[in-house]
Subunit: 257 residues, 2 copies
DNA sequence: CGTGACCTTGAAATACATCAAACCTTGTGG
DNA sequence: CCACAAGGTTTGATGTATTTCAAGGTCACG
C-alpha cells in the first residue's frame, strides 16, 4: 500500500512516428500459451476449442507511433492488446482529434467490424506493443459456433461504453484542471496504484484526450510541479501529493488556491 | 424532400416535473401486437417464442418529468421505449449533470443490468412516454435460451457506443455554437428531416447535453432567431436556414460573422 | 391575476485559446 | 564525439469565448 516499488517497464518514448513496418518475430504464435488468454476474449472458451483454433491469430510486434487501422477503413480484423498502450481516436470535421479510449493489456479493438463495415476509430500505438490479430471471418465463425463468445463481447462493449461515458461526463461537466487531475489519478489506478507510472502521452495527446490545448496542459503540469504535487523524468510521472490532486479533480482552479 | 408536411405530434411541454405516478392504462399489453416489435429487441425472435413469452413485459404510460430509474440503483428491469423521448443522465462529483443519450422510439435502456448490478444512468422522461418494462430475470432467461438475442443486444450496444463517442467528440473538439448547431441538425435528422421538429429539451437541458450553461444556449438561440435561421413556437423548432446552421456546425462563431 | 418555472439580456469576471518565441531533449550525421 | 536538426515543452502576452452574477420578462396554470 504505502510507497511500494516502482512499476513496470518505463515504456520508451517515441520521437516521430516511424512508418513502422510490422517487425513480427513470430516468437510464440500459439494461442494456447497466450499470456493474456485469461483476460482475452477467449477466456471463456474451453481448452479444446482453443486447441481446435489452430492458431488463427497472428502475433504482431509493433513500434510506438504505428497506425494499426484507420477510421473509416474497411474492417478486416479485430485485435487483442497483449502489452503496451494504444489510443483510439476520431477526427472532427474541423480537423481536431479526440482520443476516445486508451487501451492497455487485455483490451480488444476493432470488434466493431463484426457489426458494421468500417472501423470507427484510428488505432495508434503509443508504446511498442504486442498484439494479436484476429481476422474477422474467423471471429464471426467462432461467434456462430460458440455463443459464449457473444457474452464476452457484450461484456467488453459494456466496459467500453462506460469508459466513453466517463469521458463525456468529464468533458461536459468539468474544467481543465479538474479533468487533468482526474485523468492522472485514473491513470495511476489503471497502472497499479503505484506512486509512479509511465505516461506515454505527449502534452498534445493529453490535450486531445481532455479537450484542451497543448499549452493549457503544459501550464498545469508546470504549476503542479512547482507546487510539488508531482514530478516527471523520462516519461515516468511521480505523484507526490495525491490529496492535492484529488481536491483538484473535484473543484479547485489554478488561480483560486 | 422540399418543404414536406409538418411532423409528428407536438409533444406537450412539461412544466415542473410532476412526481408522476405511473398512469398505466394497460390498454394493450400483448407483446405480439407491440407496435415496436419490429425495431425492438425481439425483432429477431421467431413468432412462436414471442407467443410463448406470455406477455412478460409490462406496458407503462408515464407523464413528462418522470424518473424511471436512478444511477446507482439496483437494476431490476430493462425497458423499451415505444413512444416519447427519454434522457439518460449522470451526475458528476461537482453536482453538474450530463445528458449522455437521448432515447426515442425503439430504443432500449437499463440493459446494463444484465452485466452489472446497478443502473449506470438516471432515466427521465422528457415527454409523455409509452414504455415496455421487462424484468431482468426474464431477459436473462431469454438470453440463455435464444442466443439470437445476444446479437440484438450487441447491435444495440454498438449503436449506443457510437452515439456516446459522437458526443465525446463534440464536447472535446468543438465550441458552443458548433455543438448547438450540430445538435439541432442531428435532432432534425432523427425526427424525419422535416423543417420542423419538437424539441422537448429546456434550455438548461440542452446545456446539460452540450456542456454549456443555460445562458449560453439561450444567447445562441436568440441570436439565430434574430438572424432568421430558426424560429420556435410551443416547443416546436422550425429551421429556416439549414445552410447557415451547417456552416455554423462546422466552424463559425457568433461574433465573427 | 398571482405565482413559479423558464427564458432572455446585460455587465463583469475568468478560464482557456491563440500567437509567438525561447528552451529542452534526443537522435543523427558529419 | 560534437553539433545540429527536429519534435516536443515551457513561458509570456494578448484576445476572446464562455461562465458567472444579477435582474427583468414571459408564459402557463391554479
Amino acid at each position: 500500500m504505502l510507497g511500494a516499488e516502482d512499476p513496470a517497464i518505463p515504456h520508451r518514448r517515441r520521437k516521430h512516428a516511424l512508418p513502422g513496418r510490422p517487425v513480427a518475430p513470430q516468437m510464440d504464435n500459439d494461442c494456447r500459451r497466450c499470456p493474456v488468454r485469461g483476460v482475452s476474449l477467449f477466456g471463456d472458451l474451453p481448452d479444446e476449442v482453443v486447441f481446435s483454433l489452430n492458431n488463427p491469430a497472428e502475433h504482431l510486434d509493433l513500434p510506438a507511433g504505428h497506425v494499426l487501422y484507420r477510421e473509416g477503413a474497411a474492417a478486416n480484423a479485430a485485435f487483442t492488446l497483449k502489452d503496451g498502450v494504444i489510443k483510439l481516436t476520431r477526427t472532427a470535421v474541423n480537423g481536431r482529434d479526440q482520443i476516445l479510449r486508451l487501451l492497455t493489456r487485455g483490451d480488444v479493438m476493432g470488434a466493431e467490424g463484426l457489426m458494421g463495415l468500417a472501423y470507427n476509430h484510428t488505432a495508434t500505438t503509443l508504446t511498442p506493443v504486442q498484439i494479436c490479430r484476429l481476422p474477422l471471418p474467423v471471429l464471426k465463425q467462432l461467434q456462430a459456433e460458440h455463443p459464449t463468445l457473444n457474452h464476452a463481447l457484450l461484456a467488453r462493449w459494456a466496459v467500453a461504453l462506460q469508459q466513453v461515458e466517463n469521458l463525456a461526463l468529464e468533458l461536459g461537466t468539468k474544467k481543465a484542471s479538474e479533468r487533468l487531475a482526474t485523468f492522472l489519478l485514473y491513470w495511476r489506478a489503471k497502472n497499479g496504484h503505484y506512486p509512479s507510472m509511465p505516461l506515454p502521452l505527449s502534452r498534445t495527446e493529453t490535450g486531445e484526450l481532455l479537450g484542451l490545448t497543448v499549452e493549457t496542459v503544459s501550464r498545469f503540469f508546470a504549476d503542479w510541479k512547482r507546487r510539488g504535487y508531482l514530478s516527471e523524468k523520462a516519461g515516468i510521472i511521480h505523484l507526490h501529493n495525491l490529496e492535492a490532486l484529488e481536491t483538484l479533480s473535484g473543484s479547485e482552479s489554478l488561480s483560486r488556491i
